[in-house]
Symmetry: C2
Subunit: 259 residues, 2 copies
Amino acid sequence: MIKKKLFFRDCSDYAPYGADLMRKDIHNSNIPVRCRSCEVRHQGMCGALTADELLALSAHTHLANHSAGEELAGERMPVESYATVIRGVVKLTKTLEDGRQQIVGLQFAPDFLGRLNAEENAVSVEAASDVNICRVPKATLERLVKSSPALAERLMDQTMRELDEARDWMVTLGRKTAAEKVASFLMLIATHLEPEADGERRAFDLPLSRAEIADFLGLTIETVSRQLSKLKADSVIAITASRHIEVPKLSKLQMRCGA
Amino acid sequence: MIKKKLFFRDCSDYAPYGADLMRKDIHNSNIPVRCRSCEVRHQGMCGALTADELLALSAHTHLANHSAGEELAGERMPVESYATVIRGVVKLTKTLEDGRQQIVGLQFAPDFLGRLNAEENAVSVEAASDVNICRVPKATLERLVKSSPALAERLMDQTMRELDEARDWMVTLGRKTAAEKVASFLMLIATHLEPEADGERRAFDLPLSRAEIADFLGLTIETVSRQLSKLKADSVIAITASRHIEVPKLSKLQMRCGA
DNA sequence: GCTTTTTCTTGATCAAGATCAAAGTCCACC
DNA sequence: GGTGGACTTTGATCTTGATCAAGAAAAAGC
């Protein structure tokens, strides 16, 4: 039974957030925060912290799919520290003893990774693409949550959103056909990777391989491939490279989703 | 497409909690609270409230499966009030436009029903068996959550537990065989209906019909029935009445669950 | 008690998707 | 530029679970 393993390497810049960040900027969580070291703008959780707290805890890490180095150990990582996804896609998986695997969630920026008060996380956390995360030590976050109702509320909101997404996906897993599952997956990626896009046209790179898509949809790679070919033959999508998908008319794809 | 509807009737006793409940009893959430009107002992959420708050908000309702009366309207109910399950099983369902249905969660006592801060609930809430619930008006609960960190924490814990359960079930839906799904369902019911039971033997009434089990497992009634017959033929379970299941050896059932 | 309706079980057949197999494509690396 | 390896596509066949159908059992109504 081959279980794929992914790895992470720390990037060289562990520099904290620049001191030029004004406390008022950070307190207002509607203002995006720019990290001086990686130049990625991000908002969300960090916006709920104070500048001092941010300075104390921020350490950026680049997770790279398939790169050599220390293992990003499934269950262990989120127990030792929490993190916010800044860029890229993280997959949450569960595996049966005999190796059958199911992806139970995908996290996009600016989602929060890790679970409060849990001794052991029930899911494996792996980078699906190259990923930047903003790490927060376990003890630090748990202290912050107690003193900051806004942060606690943000975590509650994300947890409820994840629950909604999990339940939506249960319908897909339990009651949709293979064709509908694949269309629903493309729809999910299209809306998450380009949430602000307008109009009917979309173009994006799939963050997952065929095998990962199969694990997400409860199908085999062959079935995923066949259904993608079928959508292509029907001109619902164009596949210019195996990972690059173009959707000329989103509503046409939507009609294939079965709901 | 036939969509089954369930109904509720209010029971006659809307009496609030007895004034003989001592404030100290209620503050200590480890002490079960006995409702004078329905004589059902229950703990959990109510234990986190003060006596005054309890008096102000408690109204018991008996939900009855299939009884005539006002409709327990899927999405509407949990929006107008929140509730704790005191007795019975409540199912959360989602339905595709063409009528395909998936049960996305089961709530047992003392689970909490309803969702904070949500304008509209994404799931339909229906009684699976006769159910007693303790209702809390929407505004009341939202006010209490703001002032009581303990209550907020309890809601967060339940939400995370529901998320774990949803993800566990995603593995079952996506990666298990029909036989494993049915065994897993029986395991779920056995552990939830008799959580404190000891030893290997279990006996219980199924709270769901074959059709509901099928909707929970992403299968058809026929397949559910066949797999139950097979478990019976293999002496893993005994079916004394169609709803009554006896499990002589839980570990033997566990081995059929595929994980 | 008897009928009617609903739920459950069992059998026969069918089809969606899995499995098995092979060839094609895309990269990374030398 | 060529080679090796992983990923993807496509085809042939098989299995699992769906569908169709009928009868049995249980529950509801009268």
